[in-house]
């Protein structure tokens, strides 16, 4: 498919690349889809090194795609949205907020990463102040918000995809949200690597991957630098 898209006149590259975090998100999805949720999960927990042959094999698949010229040169992610909307690129791995950034939201659709069995999501934390007089009631509220009952109300308001798998797909107000919710049924939920792994990793990971995009031959060097940044 990518080879066919590349041949279309006017298309600069099949896939748009946003420098920094969008590339990091793409690679997370690639690892999740091609390596599987278990491999990705072990990378997040530090059980598996980024230089491990199992991980490197997945990256080598990616390097083949990079060397084939299927990705654009990394550039500012917001500027890439404009070029994507103008038809310079066919695909862009981006958040659902892209709907509000393109002139015609009806002109874009989405599909899950082929073969993926997991989805990633940012992890937010409920924080209860130490000095609160009612810590137990606060915990009770958090427990309530996690129930299918509360999340059904929440999802029905729009703009929020429920993490509780018991929320019925029919409650989502827009067709796009229903499609997203349907696609997530049966998926394993995992975190985003640069919010889970601390230390230097959130700095080094997107930067080294941007380097890989420009110079795929430096794969070993990139993986070593990423592994060195894991605390």
């Amino acid at each position: 498919m990518l080879a066919n898209i590349k041949e279309i006149p006017g298309v600069e590259a099949p896939i748009a690349s946003g420098a920094g975090w969008p590339i990091a998100n793409f690679v997370d999805d690639f690892l999740l889809a091609r390596g599987g949720p278990d491999l990705y999960s072990r990378l997040l927990t530090g059980e598996l090194a980024w230089t491990d042959p199992e991980v490197k094999a997945v990256f080598e698949e990616l390097v083949e795609l990079l060397q084939a010229g299927y990705f654009s040169v990394p550039a500012d992610w917001a500027a890439q949205v404009d070029k994507f909307a103008a038809g310079k690129y066919a695909l862009y791995v981006m958040g659902s907020w892209i709907v509000g950034m393109v002139p015609d939201p009806e002109d874009i659709g989405f599909f899950m990463f082929p073969g993926t069995k997991g989805v990633r999501g940012g992890v937010d934390f409920f924080i209860i102040p130490k000095f609160t007089e009612r810590p137990e009631e606060a915990k009770e509220l958090v427990r309530f918000l996690a129930t299918s009952y509360a999340q059904t109300i929440w999802a029905g308001l729009g703009g929020y995809t429920a993490a509780n798998l018991k929320v019925p797909v029919g409650v989502y107000p827009s067709p796009m949200e229903r499609k997203i919710a349907e696609a997530m049924v049966g998926m394993r939920f995992l975190g985003v690597s640069d919010t889970i792994i601390g230390g230097e990793f959130p700095i080094v990971y997107p930067d080294q991957l941007t380097l890989l995009w420009i110079d795929p031959d430096r794969l070993n060097e990139v993986l070593e630098a990423i592994q060195a940044s894991v605390p």
Partner: protein
């Protein structure tokens, strides 16, 4: 004797009056006091504190204990700070320290030379205030905006630099400069030169006004060429201006942060990392922050800038 001000005791009013009417030394101290207090609060105290913090070990934002020079040892062991093994044959990244030095080596002469050339060329040109104002625009643009402008200037195919290269028949050299390790740093340096050359031009313009016209007349009578007049009269006479430009530009390079943050974030692969950005990343981006190393970088910056300024001032004296 004047009446004491409301709320002042007679003794306080008398002592203040005594100082104001007193000897010159006391008056100087009184008038310098507000400026000294501001300097002490916002310059001396943070500097001393940063130096002190660099000798302590940290856990997150909690100070643990005195650790001597270990933060400095950690700093010099980091490849993103100092990576001479790659310099120059293997290509970037060379580490923030070498990148900042490269920036200085290119930026200082270019800013000084272009500033002087513009000042001399526009000295007696009709409409020069308008042209100078246009050159000065770069100086009034915030560096954050400058970073965005640099990114788009060097973009391919939209950027003006690549457009110029194509126009000159050098289409093979076009690329998104900020995206490639070998060209990211040069793009930022050239962009920063453009944004700061207006400052040098203004300093030199003021300096040129102070050169006695008699010197140029004497040179004309002696049959000196325009180049010799420039080389042997203009350049030596604006030496104090060059000193100011060099010192200010040196400080500018060492504290370079915002343009790099916006244009490349130090990448790709750390190839445009500079000291100011590395400091920020260690103190505010890393999880948990490494305050010890960040303070060591800050101390290093302070020492480098101070040493450079001291050396230049002494040399001029």
């Amino acid at each position: 004797m004047p009446r004491p001000l409301d709320g002042d005791s007679p003794i306080q009013a008398i002592s203040l009056l005594h100082i104001v009417r007193g000897n010159m030394k006391q008056r100087r101290i009184l008038f310098l006091l507000p400026a000294l207090m501001l300097l002490a609060t916002f310059a001396f105290y943070p500097t001393v504190e940063a130096i002190r913090m660099s000798f302590w070990s940290w856990e997150g934002r909690q100070m643990l204990g005195f650790t001597g020079l270990s933060n400095y040892a950690d700093l010099f062991a980091r490849r993103d700070f100092f990576n001479p093994a790659r310099f120059p044959t293997l290509g970037p990244p060379y580490g923030a320290l070498i990148h900042s030095l490269i920036w200085m080596v290119i930026y200082l002469p270019m800013v000084a030379m272009l500033g002087l050339v513009f000042a001399v060329l526009l000295r007696d040109v009709r409409g020069s205030p308008v042209i100078k104002s246009m050159i000065l625009i770069g100086m009034v643009v915030p560096m954050v905006v400058g970073g965005i402008v640099v990114r788009f200037m060097f973009d391919d195919p939209a950027g003006i630099i690549n457009g110029l290269l194509r126009f000159m028949g050098l289409g093979d050299f076009t690329r998104t400069w900020t995206a490639f390790p070998n060209t990211a740093l040069p793009a930022l340096i050239l962009g920063s030169v453009w944004f700061r050359v207006g400052f040098a031009m203004i300093i030199y313009s003021a300096g040129l006004e102070l050169i006695p016209e008699e010197l140029y007349e004497a040179a004309r009578i002696d049959g000196a060429s325009r180049w010799k007049t420039f080389r042997y009269i203009t350049v030596p006479m604006v030496k104090p201006c060059t000193l100011i430009v060099v010192i200010m530009s040196t400080i500018e390079v060492f504290r370079m942060f915002d343009m790099v943050y916006v244009a490349t974030f130090g990448g790709p692969g750390g190839s445009s990392m500079v000291l100011g950005l590395l400091l920020y990343l260690q103190a505010f981006f890393r999880l948990p922050p490494d305050i010890g190393v960040a303070s060591a970088i800050a101390t290093f910056l302070i020492l480098m800038a101070t040493a450079m300024a001291y050396f230049l001032v002494r040399r001029t004296e």
